[in-house]
């Protein structure tokens, strides 16, 4: 155990922890930008600097471990000035289009600029240094003008997805994030999982499919479970005007945390596809009470009300059961549907009809 003080508060804690961890455990807020709890800390954005008594330089709280007798100030004048300067440097090279930026309202840079009352300096390179929407990936919108070089995307791809698509090229003012050796994301073997987007604190990486559809505060989030594979990832559906407009990671998801795959994160647009069946349909011969024929007008679809369609089904089930017995009816329930729905199919086959002819595509 070691004893330290943070902003005058005496704290006993374990050696090996970082200043940021100890501060957090004790309810002391230190701002961060490149740091994320799921990723290994790099200390490169300098937002979390603190002053350690006796030290010549300010220390990055996310990577500096505590030692016995350490005296830390997280809010000294020097610290505040330094953080402001850091933000100014970032904003000096950042486009000023927060008004129309897609992530306005959920941008960590915007929040910090607000907290620290940082105005955009008159010097620096504003405007567009890089092409906007520069990558053809159908899901990820890339705008490196908004990149603050925190490298979270690099780490998310390397440490969560383990795919190593992103890297850093050049140095100094020219420093930039690149996919592979300066290729497109897909050429750099991107799997379009969107992890890098989920961890990007600004609008540098955003979602192409719902670009420009809603502000964060206009969206209702509904936590649910993915409808594709058996891993059972959870995420939030983003809803605006009774329409699903996107998916976002929910950090509390039991199986997957922030991680999702391309189908879970970006395979949602089938929900509102114009092919969706919106009304019951029956073949015309059923309505006209004529003999079944698989061609021509008797086989045409007719849209009906629910009562009509449901009564036809019930009548046909009864007819089959009366004519050839319960075991000539078959039920294919669904591995895509709810437990509750599968239970009801089992009950329908067994209780109502009296057959065990029920199965689903587990085998296929």
């Amino acid at each position: 155990m070691v004893n330290i003080t943070i902003d005058g508060q005496c704290i006993e804690t374990e050696a090996g922890k970082t200043i940021l961890q100890v501060a957090k455990e004790n309810g002391i807020q230190i701002p961060t930008l490149c740091y994320h709890k799921d990723l290994s800390p790099t200390g490169n954005c300098r937002m979390c600097v603190v002053e350690v008594k006796g030290g010549r330089f300010l220390q990055a709280a996310c990577v500096t471990q505590v030692w016995e007798g350490m005296e830390i100030s997280t809010v000294s004048e020097r610290v505040m000035k330094d953080r402001k300067l850091t933000l100014e440097f970032m904003l000096a090279n950042h486009p000023l289009d927060c008004l129309t930026c897609d992530v306005g309202g959920e941008c960590e840079l915007q929040d910090l600029a607000y907290d620290y009352r940082v105005e955009v300096p008159s010097w620096g390179a504003k405007g567009t240094r890089y092409p906007v929407d520069s990558d053809p990936n159908p899901f990820v919108r890339v705008d490196f003008n908004k990149c603050i070089l925190c490298r979270r995307c690099v780490q998310a791809c390397a440490e969560i997805q383990v795919r190593d698509v992103w890297g850093v090229a050049k140095r100094g003012f020219e420093e930039q994030i690149v996919a592979g050796a300066g290729t497109t994301m897909l050429e750099a073997r991107c799997e379009s999982c969107g992890q890098c987007v989920a961890y990007c604190p600004t609008g540098a990486l955003s979602n192409k499919m719902n670009y420009g559809t809603a502000r964060a505060h206009q969206v209702k989030k509904v936590t649910t479970t993915c409808s594709y594979c058996g891993v059972g990832c959870q995420f939030d559906l983003l809803v605006k005007n009774d329409k699903v407009i996107g998916v976002s990671s929910n950090p509390d998801a039991p199986v997957n945390g922030m991680a999702l795959c391309v189908k879970g994160r970006y395979g949602y647009d089938y929900i509102h596809h114009h092919d969706r069946l919106l009304k019951p349909r029956v073949r015309r011969y059923l309505l006209e009470g004529v003999k079944k024929e698989r061609t021509g007008s008797p086989w045409d679809w007719v849209e009906t009300e629910w009562d009509t369609a449901l009564d036809i089904v019930a009548k046909k089930f009864k007819e089959t059961r009366d004519a050839t017995g319960a075991d000539t009816l078959g039920f294919l329930t669904s591995a895509k549907c709810l437990n509750e729905e599968n239970y009801l199919m089992n009950k329908l086959a067994r209780q109502v009809i009296g057959t065990n002819n029920i199965d689903h595509c587990a085998r296929l």
Partner: protein, 567 residues
């Protein structure tokens, strides 16, 4: 899965992935395994004919010929026994039938196994050493193991291996089949199978039948009237999906109610399936899209997507999770549970009311006062209460608990029970684990002069099953917009396939034309095709050769011939 994904990924010292293309089929679990290899130094042996993505992370990749998993696993166990690497205490205390099992394994010496599987002897030794020396080891598989005529025997072989190494009932070990569909586990748990009620209570057991008869308001006891299917619950095991389809052609099935499935795309031998569906008297299909199967439907009922309803799914590790309604059902579509309940109510009304020419004894008599006889559910939480009452392993899994954020894996018998992340910690369901003596049976259809190559089928990262959903997702189609057939460069050269070219793949049952993807992912002599696209679905070619027990079709081995389509 006997263990949970997190446990396997965090605790296993070694993984054996056999017959699972984990990073494409269960992508997020795939990334957990990659992390374990990269950041924790876990060992990974991949046994797969194809050079799938996860092999990049493998300590060792061995490429058995399709359909030779049993000799491979027996061969590995031979080496383990030869070297004395088995967990002797576990074998002695927790298992039985070891001697008979060992006698069979001794028929699989490395030389012979190398010849059958095509894996060199040194690699067999290397693989055996890695999996035996790094304990706990978790076996992970999927359809690559089960979609064979020996699917069940393959699974038993893997259970043998894990018992031999003592890799059962402890963290980071176990037998871990990955379930494909989001709720295939739940569909099985809920009695969506021809031989069992919910929670695998057999329909042939008098006790189980009496329990459900009583709950659902039916006469208990054996049924007697007219062929025995009238009064109570049937004790005859029903037909599986792979039996129903041929059953239609034999006149055994006349009417079919299909909920959210697409047999034309997902069942073997498409031509045969189309023919069967055409023969039906009546097909009612409940779907969200006009699928390929809807062409044959008499009635098409619009269900809803997962975003439009509330209820639960159960994932591959037995974890029950909430699905929450985010938007109103589109148009006149209705939640699937509502539709099924309406059909049940109306059918029940007709079946139980008098018709002048009805025979009295043919009426379905249900005592509607019985506790769970009714069908007037207001929402799915009421259905869940009924499930809680009748399904012991789900006894304590209520919507209320899940909504409070509790994390529950079944078995969870009571509302106080915390759920069960790892199965078989103290003993197996049947007491002692029984070793099974398993011999090799070659695939049903092997390559010959007319059909000299082997085709295996499966899915790709960007699509899902019959593709009804993913073919309607714009971005996914942009990345992967048509069926590609994987072909080895050596075969490509032999066939004169160079660049973007079309292949005609023909089996004894049908033929498809699809673009070639020339890649060493497949070994020479093998092609790999998917069933996401109706224009070139691999199931036109597959056959309904079934595992005798599980009735799973042998999708992973079909004899085909491959030709270049001349322009």
């Amino acid at each position: 899965m006997s263990n949970s994904m997190d446990d396997v990924a965090k605790e296993a010292k070694c993984f054996l992935i056999i017959g699972s293309n984990t990073t494409e089929q269960h992508p997020v679990f795939g990334t957990m395994l990659r992390r374990a290899v990269r950041f924790r130094g876990a060992k990974l042996v991949v046994a797969d004919p194809r050079k799938i993505d996860i092999t990049e992370f493998a300590t060792l990749h061995i490429r058995q010929r399709p359909g030779t998993d049993i000799p491979l696993i027996n061969g590995l166990m031979y080496i383990i026994l030869e070297k004395g690497w088995e967990d002797k205490a576990f074998v002695a205390e927790r298992t039985e039938n070891f001697d008979e099992f060992k006698a069979t394994v001794m028929n699989y010496p490395p030389d012979k196994v190398a010849e059958i599987t095509g894996i060199p002897v040194e690699k067999l030794y290397e693989a055996a050493e890695i999996i035996a020396m790094n304990s706990p080891m978790a076996v992970i598989w999927a359809m690559g193991i089960t979609q064979h005529i020996v699917g069940v025997r393959n699974v038993m072989s893997l259970a043998n291996l894990q018992m031999l190494l003592g890799n059962m009932g402890k963290p980071g070990s176990g037998v871990n089949p990955l379930r494909g569909q989001n709720n295939v586990q739940g569909a099985c748990d809920m009695g969506g199978l021809p031989n069992v009620y919910p929670a695998y209570q057999p329909v042939t057991s008098d006790e189980a039948r009496e329990k459900f008869a009583k709950a659902w308001g039916l006469d208990s006891g054996p049924m007697t009237v007219d062929g025995g299917t009238v009064r109570g619950l049937s004790s005859t095991v029903g037909l599986t999906v792979t039996e129903m389809m041929p059953g239609i052609l034999e006149g055994k099935i006349k009417s079919l109610y299909v909920l959210g499935e697409d047999p034309v795309m997902s069942d073997p031998d498409t031509k045969h399936i189309r023919h069967a569906l055409e023969t039906l008297d009546f097909l009612v299909l409940q779907e969200i899209f006009p699928s390929e199967t809807s062409v044959y439907a008499d009635v098409l009922l619009p269900g809803v997507s997962f975003a439009e309803k509330t209820g639960t799914f159960t994932n591959t590790e037995r974890r029950v999770q909430m699905v929450n309604k985010a938007i109103k059902p589109l148009g006149d579509a209705r939640p699937d549970w509502w539709i099924t309940a309406e059909i049940a109510k109306r059918t029940l009304f007709l079946l139980s009311s008098f018709d002048k020419d009805d025979k009295e004894e043919e009426r379905r008599k249900i005592n509607m006062d019985a506790l769970w006889a009714k069908w007037d559910y207001r929402d799915t939480s009421e259905i869940m209460s009924e499930i809680n009452a009748l399904t012991p392993s789900y006894g304590g899994i209520t919507h209320a608990r899940l909504l409070k954020g509790e994390r529950l894996q079944w078995p969870c018998p009571t509302t106080e029970h915390p759920g069960t992340p790892i199965l078989h910690t103290k003993q197996f369901t049947r007491g002692k684990g029984k070793f099974m003596a398993i011999d090799h049976v070659p695939p049903a259809e092997l390559p010959d002069d007319d059909y000299p190559m082997v085709m295996s089928t499966g899915r790709v990262l960007y699509h899902w099953h019959g593709g009804q959903m993913t073919r309607r997702a714009k971005g996914l189609m942009q990345v992967y917009g048509e069926a590609l057939v994987e072909l080895n460069p050596m075969d490509a050269e032999r066939l004169g396939v160079n660049g973007k070219k079309l292949l005609r793949i023909t089996s004894r049952r049908g033929s498809i034309v699809a673009e070639a993807w020339i890649t060493d992912r497949v070994p020479p002599g093998m092609v790999y095709a998917n069933f996401h696209f109706p224009a070139a679905s691999a199931n036109e070619l597959t056959q309904a050769a079934l595992d005798p027990v599980a009735k799973i079709p042998e999708y992973k081995v079909t004899a085909v011939k491959v030709e270049l389509v001349k322009e």
